[in-house]
Each structure stands twice: as C-alpha cells, then as structure tokens.
C-alpha cells in the first residue's frame, strides 16, 4: 500500500500534541522521541525513553493509575509496542479511563535501518487492542481524521488506542537529552512539585 497520500508522522504528531495541554506523556524509544521533541521541545511532562524497549505502555499504566485525575498518554512506534504487546492485555483488563495509547505505525524499525515490522505483513494493532479490552480504537490514515483522533486521545473514556498509519520516511535525527534521571526528576518536579 505504498501510496503517495500517506501521512507524514511529524504532521500527525503535531496535530495531536500542539498545543499539548496538560497531558502526561510517556514517549517510547526511537523516532517517537524525535517526533515529540520536534513538537513540544524537551517538555518536562513528556518522559522520553531511550531504552527499556517494550516498556512504554506498562509505564503509562502505572502513571495513569497514580494520576487518575489527569490524562496519561503513551506515544510509541509499532516496533516498540510489538516488543511489549502483552501489555495491551494488562491495560485492557485494568481499564484505566484516563489512558490513551498513540501508535505511530510506519511498519518499520526505523532506528535500525528501516527493516519491516510485522505490521507490514498485516498485523493489526488496533484490532488487537480492541480484543485486549480497550474501550475504543481508531486507525488514522489521512489528515482529515486527525481532529477526531486528538479528541479521542484527550477526552474519550479510556483505555483508547489510536494507530497513526504513517509514511516510512527517513527523518534526520533530533538532538535531545538522554539523561533518564534528569527526565524523571523534572517530570516529578513539574507534576508534584518535588523530585
């Protein structure tokens, strides 16, 4: 389905997170971090990972449970999600109403040379999320759907899963800080007023 009309990932992410509002965000390792740094700068309430692949969803669940009055959002790529796929079931069973998952699905491991992920062979993340117990899911293939996706991510009773099907383009690396302790401490300071 190599169409000429595929969404650009940075445009799609910008539509969801600019303006970002007061959501709490866990960003899975890889190109998603570049997307979020490009969109929000190094915002203290965007916790960016650079390892622990497969952990973004479960981390977001712990955050959502700890902050039930806030919206907790995980944004990650298809490769990162697939490594922790069973956390969809853990989240679906727990059903946190304030949890949203955004998967930027380019059907590639873009950090390691653009190898195809299993979503390129038809594995359907949104259907798996639905089967795992997510309350609602949405597959976004064109920019006209992004306003509805933004609304679902921010307001719909969770857990919800939004899959952005995006162009597997090669994007230049984005300079960012990889100090995880700094990321953790500034997140807590911004949210809780203490580290």
């Amino acid at each position: 389905m190599a169409g000429t009309q595929m969404m650009h990932r940075r445009d799609a992410v910008r539509a969801l997170f600019d303006p970002r509002g007061d959501v709490l965000v866990v960003v899975g390792l890889g190109t998603s971090v570049g997307d979020m740094v490009t969109t929000n700068g190094e915002h203290p309430l965007n916790f960016c990972m650079a390892g622990a692949m497969g952990g973004a969803c479960a981390m977001g669940l712990g955050l959502a449970l700890a902050q039930p009055e806030k919206r907790a959002v995980v944004i990650t790529g298809d490769g990162e999600l697939l490594m922790g796929l069973s956390s969809l079931a853990t989240i679906g069973a727990k059903r946190p109403a304030n949890f949203a998952l955004v998967v930027t699905d380019n059907e590639r491991y873009s950090e390691t040379g653009g190898q195809r992920t299993v979503t390129a062979d038809g594995v359907d993340i949104a259907t798996m999320a639905k089967g795992a117990g997510f309350r609602d899911t949405m597959v976004v293939r064109e920019e006209g759907q992004l306003a509805a996706a933004r609304k679902m991510m921010r307001e719909a009773p969770g857990p919800v899963c939004i899959v952005l099907k995006v162009d597997p383009e090669n994007l230049p690396a984005v300079a960012r800080t990889r100090d995880g302790a700094w990321g953790k401490n500034r997140f807590r300071e911004a949210l809780l007023g203490k580290i």
Binding site: V26, M49, G55, A58, G62, A66, T90, K184
Partner: protein
C-alpha cells in the same frame, strides 16, 4: 470494611500478613504481580484492600516499567513475582539504574532449597546474581520471622534512599513444592 487479613485461611503462615501490614505502613499504593503460590495469601489480601491498586501482569517486566510510571506519578509500588520471573525483567531493569528509580520487588524462590522440579533450578540458582548484575540491592530471607522486618527495611532503602531493591523469600520459608512421584 472487613480487614483484608480476614481473607486468610486459619492455617495460613504469619509472614504474608506481616508483608501486607508493612506495605500499608510504607504507603505502597500499587501492587503488580504475576502469581506465585508463595505469594497467594499476600495477593488475596491486596485484592481485598480497596486502597490498593492491584494489577495482574502478563509478564513480570511489565511490572518494572509499571513501577517506574507509578513513581513518575507520585505513587510507591511493589512487584510480586516468582524467581523465574526475574529472568523476564533483565533489560527492563536497565531503566532503574539509568533513571535512578526507586523500586521494590518481593521474589518468592523456586529452584532454591530442595526444589523438586529441575526446570526451576537454573533460574532459581541465577536469581541473585542476575539481580545484582542489574544493579539491585538484594536481601535474602531464610526464616519466616525475618520476612516482615526485612521487607520493611527494603522499603525504607528503596523509597527513602531511592534505590532498586529485591527481597528474596527462600524455600526454607515457603517450603518446597510437593510433586507426585513417578515410578
């Protein structure tokens, strides 16, 4: 509310209730687990406590990431698992050291003292070394009366000194699982 300790059968040992009381006193709010027979009484008490947020995991590494997310959001947590689950957690534990997250896990041992299932032995024998290799502080308990006080001090060093800590509850405490003999 009925006391969560009332879910215990009359013949339950004392140490799971000692852990439960310690977790409450230490303000542990999130409890995640992959079940183990050694933790069954504690798990039942946590489920009976509506102040605790209990998460059933599909694999133990989720519990490591969950604990970090809980801390980002201002809550203390504990991961309950069997020693075999420690092997599932290895790479996820890199987050603990890199980001200096406090972390508390209570590990019931298999493959330890008198194990009757050979499949449990390799991971059970490697559990302490694996945890230490990933930078965790490890306390091992061999006597039932030491379990509660050890968990208490583990919670203290985890959350007051922001360290990753594992308490290993040995098969001398739990008892080796009984198997039906063949032949």
């Amino acid at each position: 509310m009925t006391s969560p300790t009332s879910v215990l059968p009359p013949d339950a040992p004392a140490w799971p209730a000692d852990i439960y009381r310690t977790l409450r006193e230490r303000d542990i709010k999130q409890v995640s687990y992959v079940p183990d027979a050694g933790h069954k009484h504690l798990i039942n008490m946590c489920h009976a406590d509506n102040q605790m947020k209990v998460v059933t995991l599909t694999t133990e590494e989720e519990g490591v990431a969950l604990a970090c997310g809980a801390w980002l959001g201002g809550e203390r947590s504990v991961l309950l698992m069997q020693s075999s689950g420690v092997g599932n957690c290895i790479n996820m534990m890199s987050m603990l050291k890199t980001c200096q997250f406090p972390f508390l896990t209570l590990v019931t041992m298999r493959g330890d003292f008198g194990e009757g299932n050979p499949w449990q032995v390799p991971m059970g024998q490697a559990t302490k070394a694996v945890l230490e290799a990933m930078g965790l502080i490890v306390y091992k308990v061999e006597r039932p009366e030491d379990v509660g006080p050890t968990v208490d001090m583990a919670a203290q060093i985890a959350y007051d000194s922001q360290q990753p800590v594992a308490v290993l509850i040995g098969q001398k405490v739990i008892g080796a699982k009984k198997f039906v003999k063949k032949g």
